[in-house]
Symmetry: C2
Subunit: 206 residues, 2 copies
């Protein structure tokens, strides 16, 4: 039920999704729905938003490199996953909560807190990714916000464009920003622990 709801909220948003659509998509019997979600669509939305937070953490973990410490490569892998999802869904599927955020925040206070919690989890995962590569903690928070904003906006532009071009160019630019701030990074390809500490890649030499 919650997965079905999340997918519909992702594709059409909150207002255009009826409980009957969720029931139909999930195959759940109608009676159980009101038993498990007496608060109806809004209660289901709050569960779906929490699930979206789990999903983002799982995607971040799946994009992690071995050995860790190459955040630009992780951003590139994440971009590939998101681009694949957009293309496979004919540009219906982007961020699970973005449509709901723009429809409901800040007027729905509980859901706004839930949205902010999802972004806080994503921000923490990005900071955990950036810090071990030698980026200062306060700078890692700024870069995390830049990465989240860039992904969110680029998914929106790609939906409007009906192609993943804006997503790919934007996320490539984000990866390059991170590369230029990662002390251990010295080539286009992932080369963590290569020993060339401090060899910043200059755009004019790239």
């Amino acid at each position: 039920m919650v997965e079905a709801a999340l997918e519909l909220f992702r594709q059409r948003g909150y207002h255009a999704t009826a409980m009957s659509d969720v029931i139909e998509r999930s195959g759940a019997p109608r009676g159980s729905t009101y038993y498990y979600f007496p608060g109806g669509k809004r209660e289901l939305a709050r569960e779906a938003v929490a699930l979206a937070g789990d999903e983002i953490e799982q995607m971040m973990a799946a994009a992690e490199t071995t050995p860790p410490g190459d955040p630009a490569s992780v951003v590139r892998r994440l971009a590939e996953m998101v681009a694949g999802r957009l293309e496979d869904s004919s540009f219906q599927g982007g961020c699970a909560i973005a449509t709901m955020v723009l429809e409901l925040a800040p007027s729905d206070e509980d859901l706004s807190i839930d949205f902010e919690r999802v972004f806080a989890r994503w921000r923490a995962a990005l900071v955990n990714l950036l810090e071990p590569s030698g980026i200062a903690p306060e700078r890692a928070v700024i870069l995390a916000d830049l990465v989240m904003s860039g992904f969110e906006g680029a998914m929106l532009l790609s939906r409007a464009a009906r192609n993943s071009g804006p997503l790919r160019t934007t996320t490539d630019a984000l990866a390059r920003v991170i590369e230029n701030e990662t002390p251990f990074h010295d080539s286009e390809e992932a080369a963590p622990f290569s020993g060339s500490v401090g060899a910043r890649r200059s755009p004019s030499l790239g």
Copy 2:
């Protein structure tokens, strides 16, 4: 009418806005509405999206510096305008079309074309801003997409956070990316035509 519709679409999106809300907000007599917009809400939405394109071009022009050629400062001014609008509206007002894009693209083909036209106009205005400062044309297109994505995503994060922090940190990071690629830029403050051609600001010296 179109202005009232655009404001409501901006704040709540397409689905949660009824024609009666638009009529009430605009003060227009109900009869004239169906005379001027026989296609109803969807026709009004298409007019509103075109108006959003005009509005973005006007904001870009208002943010332009004198003399021109300092794109990072323009991005900072644009960020101030957007932050002011978000704060003044208690975080109800962000991008005029973002909510509609996520609700309706790509399933509504005509509106998707309209959305893409708005982003194309914004992209062109940004490229016109970036190119005179010495950024190569193909790089200017990439940076334009990065700026648009960054603004769109940061407005979304700021709505969820109910403060303009994410918008301010993200747009500051965007301005710094542009500064680092602008040959004529050599200080934190706007200093176009200062004669120090090629003095790139290094993050380690900033």
